[in-house]
Symmetry: C2
């Protein structure tokens, strides 16, 4: 390659040019997880409690509890509540780097949780241990290289999140459109696409790229059953297409709504604020304050770029019906679009 200085050599890049497209197989998701539709309702801090998870499972998706904000007694309370509200499969999402994850994982195993979605950390930490109990482990990742590491660690499947996703993102800024085909080529695992999916046409688009299923976050966050604060839901509904931004790359990239707190971060970043200054500004509790308690000014409002497409607050059942209907309309239409 001569003087071309590349920062990363991705060993997964093969002869892609003339490759057959890798076709999706939704049964890899529906059969493997025991659900009706190849849709996972994303585990999100402050938003994904028992009501949302149970409603999502009842509607035929995989409901997911976001354990990152279910500290202390809350996790067992919410797991118990989901188990009362639905007999259908559900999962719990654990951000690995958070404090107390080990105890939370043990608790969930004791309570009979069968599907674990691990994120924000290495797939080597918990995968085998959880699988030895007979439970499944899916891992959230953001690049083909990291997906390969997940496969090496033995996960049941990967959830690949594009640049559009809300909350904490990977550093490569790969978009869902570009990421999914490359991950499908890199691993021989079920692949779920996440980031930027809020409608049936986007779900179908992800599956055209080869995704076996989709994970939907912001759209589920803006439902009746979501435990997001009503003001936060309204802010998402009001959001214009460009109202989110990926910030705080010095600490960890996070996508959030452009509110007053965002403006403060932006000013600090534009004046080359240090990591310490950024951490001090972030402080503690801003995500809870914004997303769960409705402080739209000082809160950290983590949500996806697709917010610009969200303009209502349906029930989960209404939403899933709508998504499947949109998916079917576009899928049927595609049968008329032969090109050769």
């Amino acid at each position: 390659m001569g003087v071309y200085d590349i920062t990363e050599r991705d060993q997964t890049k093969g002869h892609y040019g003339y490759a057959m497209p890798i076709l999706c197989n939704p049964t890899k998701i529906t059969h493997h997880l025991g659900i009706t539709y190849p849709i996972i309702q994303a585990g999100m801090v402050w938003v994904s409690g028992a009501k949302l998870a149970a409603a999502s499972s009842e509607a035929g998706c995989l409901g997911v509890l976001g354990a990152g904000s279910l500290t202390g007694e809350l996790l067992s309370q919410h797991i118990h509540k989901v188990q009362k509200l639905t007999k259908k499969p559900f999962a719990v999402n654990f951000p690995i780097m958070y404090h107390g994850t080990e105890q939370q994982v043990n608790l969930a195993l004791q309570m009979g949780v069968k599907i674990f979605i691990m994120s924000a950390g290495s797939p080597k930490v918990y995968t085998k241990r959880i699988q030895q109990t007979g439970a499944q482990v899916w891992h959230v990742t953001s690049s083909p290289l990291l997906a390969k590491k997940c496969e090496d660690a033995g996960v049941d499947g990967v959830i690949v999140e594009g640049f559009e996703a809300g909350g904490h993102n990977g550093r490569d800024e790969l978009t869902t459109l570009v990421l999914v085909p490359q991950v499908k080529k890199a691993v021989n695992l079920p692949v779920v696409a996440a980031g930027g999916i809020a409608s049936g046409e986007q779900m179908l688009a992800a599956m055209a790229l080869g995704a076996d299923g989709v994970q939907i976050g912001s759209r589920f966050a803006t439902t009746v059953e979501s435990s997001a604060h009503e003001k936060f839901k309204q802010a998402i509904v009001a959001a214009a297409p460009s109202d989110t931004h990926l910030m705080m790359k010095k600490i960890a990239p996070v996508r959030l709504l452009k509110n007053h707190f965002y403006q403060q971060v932006l000013s600090l970043e534009q004046s080359n604020g240090s990591t310490e200054e950024l951490l001090a500004l972030l402080g503690k509790g801003r995500a809870k304050a914004g997303m769960h308690e409705g402080d739209l000014t000082e809160g950290e409002l983590e949500i996806g770029q697709v917010s610009g497409m969200i303009s209502d607050i349906p029930t989960v059942a209404e939403l899933v019906t709508q998504i499947i209907s949109q998916y079917e309309q576009v899928r049927t239409h595609l049968t008329t679009l032969k090109l050769d």
Copy 2:
């Protein structure tokens, strides 16, 4: 909205939630432009000369000359050459903000160019004037709001570029997956999706989102007929998924390969370099040096994020055949994936 401080109110956001998906109509592209496939080969500086444009048109797409780098006599020479090599429709792309665009547009009109693709500037500047001669005007844009302005200016169609696109990008960082459905809802015009499309499955995904056609850049840049330097083509072939980045947002956001020049820009940006310092570092002629003359170290190598998926250098004819074949395989497969 209370204290929620939003930077932009997008009047195009309507009641999206329960909307019928807006279905694509490829004939809006093929009939309007007089081509076989709903594919535009992007006009790119230093890469899209007469050979590439003519080959793309002969292969059934819309070939496009990139006038931004065809200064002086070059533009008339290349237009003349395309007209000799093909009788099929072709277009010329003019970045409006470049020096000398007015003379170039007049020259193209005199030489009988019938399809103009305008970018990097306001659609109000040239649209009506060109259309009065009987030629078409398409405009490259990057947000639903800007697409609406294009419609108000009377363009024939819009090409909407996502965050993944190579070269100069819009400031909103909207990805193709999130951008296309919103633009389809905002305007009643033919919509062409661009950014992150290099394969038939990505083309089908864009059409599932509602795009009537696609514009493909980086993938065409890496063909035999492209006037990119051979070393640049090899660098794209070698590029890993994360080897491009959106830089120079203080001046104008541009996506480029991570080479030595990129490292210098990064260092300057990370130490909060001023706009003046960035402009001085950029200097003049770096894009030509890199993309056309093969200086991979100091050149500015503008290319799309999809480079990670490009691993060969086919002829245009081979490439188009492959894309259509991939498209058909996935389309046929999706017709079997009923979900309700």
